[in-house]
C-alpha cells in the first residue's frame, strides 16, 4: 500500500492511507498514513460494524485536512478487542 501511495505522491496527487502495521509503513515512508490496529481483512472494523467503519473513515479523512509534514503516521487509536484474531495473524497463526 505504501509503495503505491508513494507513486501517487510522486505524481502530485493528494493522498492519505490507512495502515495496520506501523513498522512496515515506517520502511516505505508514504506522505501520510493513519494507523488502525485492526486485523487483516477487517481494516475498517468488524463485519456489519458500520459505526466503526464510519469513525475510521471520518478520522482518516480529517487527517488529510491537517498540515502534517511528509512521512507522518497518525495513530487513530482504533484497537481490536473483540478476540485474538489480530494477535494470531501477527504470529502467522491465522489468516
Amino acid at each position: 500500500m505504501g509503495l503505491l501511495q508513494r507513486i501517487l505522491d510522486q505524481h502530485g496527487l493528494a493522498t492519505v492511507s490507512l495502515t495496520q502495521i506501523r513498522e512496515i509503513t515506517e520502511l516505505v515512508k508514504p506522505s501520510l498514513a493513519c494507523l488502525v490496529e485492526h486485523p487483516f481483512g477487517l481494516t475498517l472494523g468488524a463485519v456489519g460494524d458500520e459505526a466503526t467503519h464510519r469513525a475510521v473513515l471520518r478520522a482518516c479523512l480529517a487527517e488529510a485536512t491537517r498540515p502534517h509534514p511528509a512521512g507522518t503516521i497518525v495513530d487513530l487509536g482504533f484497537r481490536w478487542e473483540r478476540d485474538d484474531l489480530r494477535a494470531r495473524q501477527l504470529r502467522k497463526q491465522a489468516h
Binding site: M1, I7, Q10, L13, A14, S17, T43, A64
Partner: protein, 161 residues
C-alpha cells in the same frame, strides 16, 4: 536480531521461507512529498484505491500464485457487484461486508450525506501481495496515477487489507 522490527521481520521471514525466497521489503530513506488537500472535504472529489483484491464479476480474478500480481482493476464508483481474490486474508469477511476493506458503499453514503463532495467516477483495486515491485513501480502504479489525474481527484484514499 532480525533486519526489521516487529511484524515486518515476521512477514519477511515467512514469505522468504514459505512463499517467495527472493522477497525483501522495498524501503526508502526519505518520505514521498505530501500535497495538502486544497479544498474542504465537503467539496472534494475523493477516489478509493485499495489492495483488497476487489474486482467485478466479469473481470478476471487476481493471480494468487507465489509470484504475486501487480495488475489492477477499474471499478465504477456506483457498483455493488464486488468479488474478492487475495492470498493475504480471509476474503469471506469482505464477501459478507465489502466496506471492511473496500469502503466504496460507505464513501457513497458520506457523499450523499454531504460529508464529502463526491466520489471519483472510478475506483482502483490491486491485490496487495506483490513481492516483485518493479512492475508496480514502473507500470501499473504510474498508469493508475495518470487515470486519477485525468479524473481530477482532490484526494486519494488508500485502504490496505
Amino acid at each position: 536480531m532480525g533486519r526489521y522490527r516487529g511484524f515486518a521481520q515476521v512477514e519477511y521471514e515467512f514469505v522468504r521461507r514459505r512463499v517467495y525466497a527472493p522477497f525483501d521489503w522495498t524501503t526508502f530513506e526519505e518520505p514521498s512529498p505530501r500535497r495538502g488537500l486544497e479544498r474542504p472535504l465537503e467539496r472534494s472529489r475523493i477516489a478509493l484505491v485499495a489492495t483488497a483484491g476487489a474486482h467485478l464479476p466479469g473481470q478476471p480474478a487476481f493471480d494468487l500464485g507465489k509470484g504475486g500480481d501487480s495488475s489492477y482493476r477499474e471499478l465504477p464508483a456506483d457498483t455493488d457487484e464486488l468479488r474478492f481474490s487475495h492470498v493475504g486474508y480471509d476474503t469471506r469477511r469482505a464477501d459478507e461486508d465489502p466496506d471492511v476493506v473496500f469502503p466504496l458503499s460507505l464513501l457513497r453514503r458520506l457523499a450523499a450525506e454531504g460529508e464529502i463532495g463526491e466520489l471519483a467516477p472510478r475506483a482502483f483495486s490491486f491485490m496487495g501481495y506483490i513481492p516483485e515491485t518493479e512492475p508496480l513501480l514502473h507500470q501499473t502504479g504510474p498508469e493508475v496515477a495518470g487515470k486519477l489525474l485525468a479524473d481530477a481527484v482532490d484526494l486519494v484514499l488508500l485502504v490496505p487489507s
